[in-house]
């Protein structure tokens, strides 16, 4: 069930009525409704793995309780390992089994040995990367005594299957979401209105920007050998925007929907294209994943490597980002994507600029030349890495990048037929999108605080978005990050 579908509208309206008008006086009943809604939502998208979702919820629920109860440190450790093995093992099997087998086979082939290996036709449970990380972080936090294990199974199961964010994040932590589940919720007027605007802004990003860009990028990535360099560069730009608009659009809708239910879930993007360097970029892009890996991978590693100075820090960062790459999927392109980002940090580490923070154009309407140059540079580095990310193989990516550096770089970019119109429409709305994001760059979200503005301003904004959605929605259907 996609957020941008009529099925979801009917589902959510029915849920909203039951949630606030029927079950609101009984927290247990309200949570049970939330749980059932989560399972309906998940099963609608992919019923085959509902039992898997319920199974790992049950396992981690009991693990949390027994980890907390057990006084023996060794037993605590073993229970933790069970949780980690189950989570990582599940991910490894569903996402990476065939990749490991094929890579293993290819490695032996390089030295002249041909292996007969078995590959399986494995379907990937939707959202597995997201809800698995939730359960792993839960057992780790209980083990490290950062949170108390919940004894309320409805609360825990709902935490795992929380439907606004189960399919594509944000990856919320138990310490943020479980207390909200255990306490009465209110629909605050301002939060509700801001949440509503987040939803329609997310819809705009997904349907008008991402889906229109996707119409072009899907064709160009299949036919890049026949196209001039300037078209390939423009296509790379459009894909970068598409990925951001698609993913952040979904996140905005997830956060907005949560607000309509009285929840505050963590934001996932903080205007990353205004970052001045790659370190700042990753503090603003897919924040929930970056924070998760920082807490559970990078920090322990950097502590372990602290005796090796800058080299140790570099190794920890490269390892961390390689994991980020691998998290996205079973292809060497993702591994290279992550590794490349790790390497991007090296100049910052060597010059001591890793943690430098400065508010962008703080009292100015426009950025300074230096700030603009830094933003452009960071954007370009990210765009290059996305060529690798999007390509079917590393050789395709290298070929694409090679073709960019050809004399046709000076030609006017051109697509086929109606794609030219789609490109112009996309660029127009991308310009509006950047202006709006720039205006709200010091806020938590676009339209943050609009509930305090006048009714006419609210209506004008809504009508503009509806107009754009009505005439210029693209024709793509699913979300890119559903594949991860």
């Amino acid at each position: 069930m996609l957020f941008n579908s009529f099925e979801f509208v009917y589902f959510f309206v029915a849920f909203f009525i039951l949630y606030w008008f029927v079950t609101n006086k009984d927290l247990k009943l309200q949570n049970l409704l939330l749980l059932v809604a989560g399972y309906i939502f998940y099963a609608w998208s992919d019923w085959r793995f509902l039992s898997y979702l319920i199974g790992i919820s049950a396992l981690n629920y009991f693990l949390g309780i027994y980890i907390e109860k057990t006084l023996n440190p060794k037993h605590k450790q073993w229970l933790l390992y069970v949780g980690l093995v189950q989570g990582i093992g599940g991910l490894a099997f569903f996402k990476y089994f065939n990749f490991f087998i094929t890579s293993f086979k290819d490695a032996f082939h390089l030295i002249g040995i041909n292996l007969n290996t078995l590959t399986l036709n494995i379907a990937l449970p939707l959202g597995i990367s997201f809800f698995t990380f939730r359960t792993i972080s839960y057992v780790l936090d209980v083990h490290n005594e950062k949170i108390k294990a919940t004894k309320n199974w409805v609360v825990f199961f709902t935490y795992v299957s929380f439907f606004p964010s189960i399919l594509s994040g944000p990856i919320d932590r138990a310490k943020n979401l479980i207390p909200q589940l255990e306490n009465k919720r209110e629909l605050d007027y301002h939060k509700g209105i801001d949440g509503f605007f987040l939803i329609i802004w997310g819809l705009f990003k997904k349907l008008v920007i991402a889906d229109n860009c996707g119409v072009i990028t899907n064709v160009v990535f299949k036919n890049y050998l026949e196209l001039p360099s300037s078209t390939l560069i423009l296509n790379s730009f459009l894909y970068t925007i598409q990925l951001y608009a698609d993913f952040s659009g979904y996140s905005d809708m997830a956060i907005g929907i949560s607000r309509l239910m009285g929840f505050s879930i963590s934001k996932n993007f903080d205007f990353p294209f205004f970052a001045q360097n790659i370190a700042e970029f990753w503090r603003k892009w897919h924040i929930s994943l970056t924070n998760w890996l920082t807490d559970y991978v990078f920090t322990p590693l950097s502590i372990a490597f602290r005796d090796y100075g800058s080299w140790g820090l570099t190794a920890a960062i490269i390892f961390n980002f390689t994991i980020i790459g691998i998290w996205h999927g079973a292809n060497w392109t993702y591994v290279l994507f992550g590794f490349l980002h790790g390497c991007y940090f090296i100049p910052l580490i060597l010059t001591g600029n890793l943690n430098k923070k400065k508010k962008l154009a703080k009292d100015e309407l426009l950025p300074s030349f230096r700030e603009f140059f830094n933003m452009l540079g960071t954007f370009t580095l990210f765009m290059i890495s996305l060529i690798i990310f999007r390509s079917e193989s590393i050789s395709n990516a290298i070929e694409y990048l090679n073709r960019i550096f050809s004399p046709s770089i000076l030609s006017i970019p051109k697509f086929r037929g109606e794609e030219n119109t789609t490109a112009i429409i996309s660029l127009f709305f991308i310009a509006i999108f950047f202006i709006v994001e720039w205006k709200y760059r010091f806020n938590d979200f676009v339209f943050n605080g609009i509930s305090k503005r006048g009714l006419s301003i609210q209506i004008v904004n809504i009508l503009f978005i509806v107009l754009a959605l009505y005439f210029f929605s693209g024709s793509m259907k699913s979300y890119i990050y559903f594949n991860f």
């Binding site: 209105i193 509503f196 109606e418 429409i425 509806v466 009505y470 005439f471």
Partner: protein, 316 residues
Amino acid sequence: MNKFLKRMFIYSLAVLLLLAILMYAESRYFNFLPNDYSRHKTIVETIKNKYLSPEILVFGDSKAMFGVNAKTISNNLINTPIAFNLSSPAQSVSEGSYFFSKLPASTKHIIHCIDYSEFSYGILGLDKQVALSMRFYGFEVDPYMEEYLDTLNPVFFESNIKILYEARNMLRTAFHNEIRKVIDNEPLNESLFHDIYFPHTYTLSRHPNYPNYSVEFDYDKMKISNEKINFLLKIDKFLQKRGIKYHLIIMPINPDLYQLNNEAHNSNMTKIKELIPKIDVVDLTGFLNNQDFYDGFHPNKNGAEKLSKEISKRLN
């Protein structure tokens, strides 16, 4: 909560008002904004026009638009009967057949120009956007169509609101038409686009990027579709009842794009003629040489003259 619900109600009213205005405006601007489907207006109006009495009507896709000059056909026939070319971009056999139950009483011949590959496809349903445009331009289905069409496109039966909502992309195609004037190697000639005799839209005899197309279909390996054969038989039976002769013209293939294997092609043509013996099948696949083509698919003016004269010979 109450304040929130009140505000949401106001938003809903504003959005509904905007949608009502947009849908009302759509039903008006559809008729005057150029779009990819505006040729359907020409076709529908021509067929409905009681003051026109054509004897010969040509249907087909853009190959027929570029390749058949109805005036040439007419001038090469005894008594110079009135002939119109009602082909349109991407017009499938199925789409053309929608007009067959509404033909003027004066009609004596239907010249249906098809690509050779059509024999391998089943019945392709009417494209949704095409059906929407036909409906907007006043086309209505009737029970007679069910004599040869198993299913009619559901667009013709849907509510007006749904149709208006579905047709919102027309604004985009209008915008696209304007963009093409600037960026196309050879801009579309709009006045010729609506011509009912020879709607060729190019001005040069050769596309600047000739051939500008590549062929992905393997003609030599194609298999004849029984579904398509049965469909053609039904069309022929329907037209025969009305005293109309049905001619299937298999349009030329550019030899620069594909060289047909004679053995395979002859075998297919023999089979086709055996399966539809009562239909006048005119095989012109190898009739033109590469100089007679504007691009990989479409004949140029020279090719159109040759083709049209050949068609009129067959009608004589």
